[in-house]
């Protein structure tokens, strides 16, 4: 019986429900001591005094390290622009200036507080537009000397506070605007969003035998290895990263955080294991949150209302250091039209250094606010034209064969129309419109997205009892991609129950490179690599069983825990027997598989700074929301939420729905609840989970989900990515629905009750004035 598409218990469910699971923050080592970081209390300034002596003098303190104790080098995922410790200037609040190790956590924090740090404040660069003015102070006066992680040849357009720039300027844009019947213009502003995983970041570092080992709960262990290697100036193989159960990540645990500090502290403490754990406030203010951004978009329309050209400019907040961000900036090119034909489109994406915490990846990255901008803009255009919003979208919707701005051809974009139809069947638009009540509104939006193509590998090892182990550096951040998806795929191939497949936790000394749990890639990439590895196991099983069964290997199949003759299932031998026989004759059975998705063809001349050139393994998404606004409190309740999503094939129904329900909830939080303001001083205003408000159980309805399945021939059992898509559109559809409900455009994210009330009051004033006239 197939286990693909079936409900299976997740392999980590017992440990997680019993309290036995060991998360990163639970990990302990013999003789372990504790660390704490001294962090800058201001976002911009010059260090005038740093005295560690009071901390070092405290009994029970083992080490205090500063920039003077770290290699004189810069590190970074894309650009090497970051030192381990601030040496002269501090560039964001929370930036590490020193680190201490002591007998207990309490003592380590006391010692950190005893370090004397005096900083002369400097003006903070915070405003994105101001940061780009010629007279703006430079966040990095030495920006020209920085080198990309892949070497000088990998450099890309950047200058001063402009951390990265991607520009696409095809012919015909200005001509179209010149002859336009009408031009519609918008500006959208979005705040940052904190990933707010419930397990704060932690790390345990051990320096032993000339090598660094770091225990951490991380989405991308190999990236941590590389970052620790850069910061501590040792070769990558001198660093070993051991992964643990992850208490949520959502992109924030893709780059190193506490790991290099724990490693260096252990070396300074003569090899004692050192553990670092963030307080929630430390975690929040230093997390690589989703960046805030300003998106300006204008469209040229002909006399029929058809969009004939567009211009989109996005200015995104890089924070003080680049992290992964330059690589993501060019995504604006792929989302600038959404999924609608818009004629020649000029796209400018600018990433700006500021004196704020470095931003980074959060599920769906910049797609969330780019689609918010494009889809709000579509509603605005439809309103200007006085046409139905859904109908207007369908008029411009991509079809099969659509050629994109980068030259990539979407052969299957017609799936979008299926998505609209699936939503329509469950929630007919005309009926929703007809049944409209005061303060209720509806919104609809659509998107396309990629499945991260980056490489992965797995070894499938057959035990002599007929069970299998999968050795991989892939990580299950909770999605079930490993604990169900990869497990099911291997079980299916080997004809054994999922409960007989054990997937290891990642260890970079043991498992080959894996690009981490990001971009919805794990089920597809690691699932495929594991499937290839399992196929090698099957070949070897058949070869050994051929001798036992006195049959040709080609006549055998592996199924139901046995190797058997095709068409004669009675002639069989248990896998366990074959495995044991193999061990003693040809040697133990294992197989290896690797997989990477190639980037689809694109036109390299279409843009400058095109770091992410095209979208591999596209998926398609249509969302609809119905909301109700409370005109007294300004709060918004989401009454209904519908998702139609192309998934390739459902491997695990629980996992797929879990990603949809969870991703939409994070998107609802982004749209309505999660205010993360930055003051003029560059410091966050919301600093705890009390003021940074996550959606609660009563804030979200059960999402009505309609999976669209068009199996991808390269994916395991047809699988494409699932996890990111659900967060792309909630901000767009909810903003459209709230604007619809109150009859006023709401163009900023989040839409807090204060913003709703302000918009309602503006509307009332306007009505009163009209009444007087």
């Amino acid at each position: 019986m197939s286990v693909i598409g079936e409900r299976v218990p997740r392999s980590d469910g017992r440990a997680k429900a019993s309290g036995e699971a060991e998360y990163g923050v639970d990990h302990a080592e013999p003789d372990m001591i504790w660390g704490a970081l001294v962090r800058s209390p201001v976002s911009s300034g010059r260090i005038t005094r740093l005295d560690t002596a009071p901390a070092l003098a405290m009994p029970g303190v083992h080490a205090v390290v500063t920039a003077a104790d770290a290699p004189d080098t810069r590190a970074g995922w894309v650009l090497r622009d970051q030192r381990l410790f601030a040496a002269d200037r501090v560039l964001y609040e929370g930036q590490p200036v020193a680190a201490v190790a002591a007998d207990t956590l309490e003592l380590a924090r006391e010692a950190a507080a005893a370090v004397v740090l005096e900083i002369e404040p400097l003006p903070a660069v915070v405003d994105l537009d101001a940061a780009l003015r010629p007279d703006a102070p430079l966040v990095h006066p030495d920006w020209e000397s920085y080198v990309p992680a892949l070497g000088p040849d990998a450099d890309y357009p950047r200058h001063g506070n402009l951390a990265a720039e991607s520009v696409s300027d095809p012919p015909g844009v200005d001509d179209a605007f010149a002859r336009a019947h009408r031009v519609v213009t918008d500006e959208f502003v979005v705040q940052r969003q904190y990933q707010a995983y419930i397990e704060p970041k932690s790390a345990v570092g051990i320096y032993r035998d000339g090598r660094f080992t770091v225990h951490t709960a991380h989405q991308f262990p190999y990236n941590v290895r590389d970052r620790v290697s850069q910061f501590l100036d040792v070769r990558p193989s001198a660093v070993r990263i051991v992964g643990h159960t992850i208490g949520g990540g959502f992109g924030a645990k893709l780059d190193a955080a506490l790991e290099p500090y724990a490693a260096l502290l252990s070396k300074a403490a003569r090899g004692r294991a050192v553990k670092l754990v963030n307080t929630r406030t430390e975690d929040l203010i230093t997390c690589p949150s989703r960046e805030g951004a300003i998106t300006r978009v204008r469209s040229a329309l002909d006399e029929d209302g058809t969009i004939i050209a567009r211009e989109l400019e996005v200015i995104a907040d890089n924070g003080a250091y680049s992290g992964e961000m330059p690589w993501l900036a060019s995504i604006a090119l792929h989302c600038a039209r959404g999924v609608y034909r818009a004629g020649p489109t000029r796209v400018t994406a600018r990433l700006v250094y500021t004196n704020t915490a470095p931003t980074g990846a959060f599920r769906g990255v910049n797609g969330t606010y780019l689609y918010h901008a494009v889809e709000r803009h579509m509603d605005h255009i439809a309103a200007e034209l006085g046409v139905d919003r859904r109908e207007y979208r369908l008029r411009h919707l991509f079809d099969d064969g659509e050629e994109l701005l980068n030259g990539q051809v979407l052969t299957d974009a017609g799936i979008l129309r299926e998505g609209f139809e699936a939503i329509e069947a469950a929630a007919p638009w005309a009926k929703l419109e007809a049944e409209r009540r005061p303060y209720r509104g509806i919104g609809i939006a659509a998107a396309w997205w990629l499945t991260n193509p980056m490489p992965g590998t797995a070894v499938v090892k057959l035990h002599e009892d007929g069970t299998a182990a999968v050795i991989t550096a892939a990580t299950d951040n909770g999605s079930g991609a490993v604990s169900m998806g990869v497990t099911q795929i291997v079980a299916e191939r080997l004809g054994i129950p999922p409960s007989d497949v054990f997937v290891t936790l990642p260890d970079t000394d043991v498992a080959g490179f894996d690009a981490g749990s990001q971009g919805s890639r794990t089920t597809r990439i690691v699932g495929k690599a594991s499937q290839i590895a399992a196929d090698e196991v099957i070949t070897k099983l058949k070869d050994v069983a051929a001798g036992l069964l006195e049959a040709a290997a080609d006549d055998l199949e592996v199924a139901d825990g046995t190797v058997r003759v095709k068409g004669a299932p009675g002639t069989s031998v248990p896998i366990a027997v074959v495995a044991a026989t193999a061990t003693n004759t040809v040697g133990p059975i294992q197989g290896t598989g690797s997989f990477v998705t190639p980037f689809p063809d694109f036109n390299p001349g279409c843009a400058t700074g095109l770091m992410l050139p095209s979208f591999p393994t596209p998926t398609y998404h249509v969302h609809l929301a119905e909301v109700e606004v409370d005109p007294v409190t300004g709060t918004v309740q989401v009454l209904r939420y519908l998702v139609a999503q192309e998934v390739g094939a459902v491997i695990s129904p629980d996992g797929t729905y879990g990603q949809v329900m969870g991703g939409v909830t994070q998107g609802i939080g982004y749209a309505l609840h999660e205010s993360l303001r930055i003051g003029e001083d560059g410091r966050y205003r919301e600093r705890t989970l009390e003021s940074y408000r996550l959606p609660l159980a009563g804030d979200v309805p059960r999402v009505e989900f309609f999976p669209l399945e068009h199996p991808d021939p390269d994916g395991p059992h047809g699988a494409k990515g699932v996890g990111e898509g659900p967060i792309l559109l909630p901000a767009a559809v909810i903003a459209n629905a709230v604007s619809d409900a109150i009859g006023r455009p709401l163009n900023n994210i989040p839409i807090t009750p204060e913003e709703v009330l302000a918009a309602l009051q503006t509307a009332e004033l306007r009505n009163d004035e009209e009444h007087v006239r």
């Binding site: 017992r14 429900a17 309290g19 995983y197 397990e199 879990g658 329900m661 969870g662 009390e690």
Partner: protein
């Protein structure tokens, strides 16, 4: 320390103040049926006592100021946030943590229901959800979905969107009613 101190002077004052208070007190706490007696600094939270002194790391710390609910435990039968209690306040108390729910290797019906209904993803909030739901079902063995949502509204989950957790609790209620 949930907030960064803003100046070195105040940081030093804080440090000397807490250093001078390093005395201990002997406490006895019964956790999951086992009596733990330990000398405990008054500043140690009950959560840290459970995690570090008792070695029971199933009680998770998400925020350390009573918002997320991941550290929810039962103290003398009522739910409490282990991060908001000092260990010395629990002297003489009977405590149940997530490790006390299963009978040996057999998960209890609530834990089984969470596993069966995909009521967890990363699982970090799960112990707190389980303990809150334990109290909820003890008070109301037959809740409806709205009551479950209300009852869990003091516990944060960042992964699931709550729906599968609500279904898990409803399923558990049915199993427990038999």
């Amino acid at each position: 320390m949930t907030e960064l101190a803003s100046g070195s002077t105040s940081q030093r004052e804080l440090a000397s103040e807490s250093t001078s208070q390093r005395n201990t007190e002997s406490i006895t706490v019964t956790v999951n049926g086992h009596a733990y007696t330990a000398d405990c600094e008054p500043r140690v939270t009950l959560a840290d006592f459970l995690r570090h002194t008792c070695g029971l790391t199933g009680t998770h710390l998400g925020c350390e100021h009573g918002v997320c609910g991941a550290c929810t435990i039962l103290v003398d039968g009522r739910s409490a946030r282990a991060c908001l209690m000092l260990a010395v306040q629990a002297d003489g108390a009977t405590i149940t943590t997530v490790e006390g729910l299963a009978a040996g290797n057999a998960l209890n019906p609530l834990q089984e229901a969470f596993w069966d209904n995909h009521g967890l993803q990363c699982g970090f909030c799960t112990p707190g959800m389980l303990m809150t739901a334990t109290e909820l079902l003890a008070d109301n063995p037959d809740p409806d979905a709205a009551e479950v949502r209300e009852g869990l509204s003091g516990n944060l989950c960042r992964c699931t969107g709550y729906d599968s957790i609500v279904r898990s609790v409803l399923d558990a209620a049915q199993r427990m009613r038999g």
